[in-house]
Amino acid sequence: MLTHVTPDTSPGTNPEILVSLTKDQVLHIAMLARLRLAEQEFDDVVAKLSRIVEFVDQLQAAPTKNVLPMAHPLQQTQRLRADVVTESDERDAIQANAAMVRDGFYLVPKVIE
């Protein structure tokens, strides 16, 4: 549970929230999520996402002034672990699942920094 108080987000304070998504927005989201959308699915994705956003938009009207956001359903706090090494080298077994490995490294196309 976050303990700070956030600004009131009831309707009227956020008139700029659009209910329909533009193609550019969808492209941007797909990029953030590293999802390549095929040509033929693109329009459908825009339509369906817009529909979903429209649907969840009804949350704007909910009476949430002074309500704290709930991050976890139960009032628990984090348990601490002792600082002990418990894992051993299982690299070879684990790397059997990787498509491309060399000299123990996982390989990806070269990145230039």
Partner: protein, 491 residues
């Protein structure tokens, strides 16, 4: 009756356990029979993604050999199946996705470990909506699952394969997971019992994450008694899961005997509205009458924010899943696009090709509601509404012990019927989602038929009230025989 019975599949898990303990049944016989049904019925229903015939038979043989041994677990020699969302060492875990089509986990989920330690034998991994996202088991890369009551219909989802396998008497029990109703709703649509425990009751370690603050592991069985047996083994603190609760696990089986008399049951005013199929409504009301006739007291309760539970869920769950699924990038495991041009191409195509449409939609929805400029209006707002919904339940449970009502708004629907408008599909979870948002336990119990299709009664309790839910369900099953009806095809 000694070992050669051909109708062992009709037995409950509890009865099978008795038979094995007494020597009337051999695990080998039982396993072989069920495996035959897996390959015939299971295949027709497309309920399975992987079948582990050889290891199962070997385990069964071992179990029979160990009969004399004093240290036998409660599930000694009993065949079950796992939803393909649970990691199983050495056996493919696909999550119903092309992304993990050939993924073999190097470790077992805690749930799998505990059931195995108790002696259970795994016959295979069941089909499911891709990454647990769906309410009809139509988003699986491995094809839809069919409802044993009518193969043109969906069994519900996302634990559709598990529900179908149990309803068709292929196996007596199957594990499932429930994030917005994925155990309870398919249980209702297939005439089986499905329980989702309190959040934190069962370890999530090894259960591939969809929405971390909502996911829980549970079981689908035909009786509350069987569910009690399994939950007792699955539940309990796990140090590998930070959200696991260190709360003692009661003897759920012993607790089944608690009588209905005096039990205070809340009926939610908002449940019985226009969205609920009238036949379903009628069956639920009849079930409530049965409970009342045994001494339960019915009271009306209010869940004023019920209507907001589906939109809340469809902000929170996608947000969490958009992040949880970022690890699927083709680098260390899973589907990897061929000949990527560069890193960006590797990511975008591996994920674009590896994930199905619903998963991509949810990832994008989640990315959107967390993104700069939208976080406050959507994600933060949804978390606040979640608080409101939880508060509604808290107030209700100050008045009543259990909340009872329909599990699903309609009986099983046609495969392909609801795949056009995502919202129509999402609304299937209207009655189940609240329990996930508030972390409450819920169980669905068969309570009659709408035409020839099963209807489920849902019972929801306060945190850690599994015992009470199981007892109420069990008592109800002592008074009714809905759970003994079986689909024609599955005699």
């Amino acid at each position: 009756m000694v070992g050669q019975s051909t109708n062992l599949h009709g037995l409950t898990l509890t009865a099978m356990a008795r038979g094995i303990a007494s020597g009337d049944i051999t695990s080998a016989d039982l396993t072989a029979q069920l495996l035959r049904r897996v390959s015939t019925l299971g295949s027709e229903l497309n309920a399975f993604i992987s079948v582990t015939e050889d290891t199962a038979m070997a385990a069964a043989a071992l179990a029979d050999k160990a009969r004399g041994s004093a240290r036998r677990g409660k599930l000694h020699g009993l065949p079950i199946v796992h939803k393909d969302l649970f990691c199983t060492r050495g056996v493919r875990t696909t999550c119903g996705s092309r992304m993990l089509e050939n993924f073999v986990s190097p470790y077992d989920a805690t749930v799998v470990e505990r059931l195995a330690r108790a002696g259970a034998i795994t016959l295979g991994k069941t089909n499911m909506d891709e990454f647990a996202m769906g309410s009809s088991n139509e988003t699986s890369y491995f094809g839809p699952v069919r409802n044993p009551w009518n193969p043109a219909l969906s069994p519900g989802g996302s634990s559709g394969g598990s529900a179908a396998a149990v309803a068709a008497r292929i196996v007596p029990a199957a594990t499932g997971t429930d994030t917005g109703g994925s155990i309870r709703q398919p249980a209702a649509l297939t005439g089986t019992v499905g329980i989702k425990p309190t959040y934190g009751r069962v370890s999530r370690y090894g259960m591939v994450a969809f929405a971390s603050s909502l996911d829980q592991a549970g079981v689908i069985t035909r009786t509350a008694e069987d569910a009690a047996l399994l939950l007792g083994i699955m539940a309990g603190f796990d140090s590998r899961d930070s959200t696991s609760v260190d709360h003692p696990v009661p003897d759920y089986v012993a607790g089944l005997a608690a009588p209905l008399s005096g039990l205070s049951i809340g009926i939610v005013r908002q449940h019985f509205d226009a969205g609920l199929d009238p036949e379903c409504a009628a069956r639920v009301r009849e079930a409530l009458s049965v409970l009342k006739s045994e001494g339960a007291v019915l009271t009306e309760v209010d869940l004023p924010h019920l209507d907001l539970s589906v939109p809340t869920y469809y902000v929170v769950a996608p947000a969490e899943c958009s992040s949880n699924l970022s690890r699927f990038d083709g680098v260390r495991f899973g589907y990897r696009a061929s000949d990527p041009r560069d890193l960006m191409d590797l990511y975008c195509r591996s994920r674009g090709e590896g994930f199905g449409a619903e998963v991509k939609r949810r990832i994008m929805t989640g990315t959107y509601v967390l993104s700069a400029g939208y976080f406050d209006a959507y994600y933060l707002q949804a978390q606040k509404v979640r608080q409101l919904i939880s508060e509604d339940f808290r107030k209700a449970f100050a008045k009543v012990d259990i909340i009872a009502g329909p599990t699903a708004p309609t009986p099983a629907f046609a495969l392909g019927a609801k795949t056009d408008d995502p919202i129509t599909m999402y609304l299937n979870d209207i009655y189940t989602i609240g329990a996930n948002l508030a972390g409450l336990p819920g169980i669905s119990v068969p309570c009659g038929f709408a035409g020839r299709l099963p209807v489920g009664l849902q019972l929801v309790g306060a945190h850690f009230a599994e015992e009470r839910l199981l007892a109420c369900a069990h008592q109800y099953q002592q008074l009714t025989d809905w759970h003994e009806r079986k689909p024609e095809s599955c005699a």
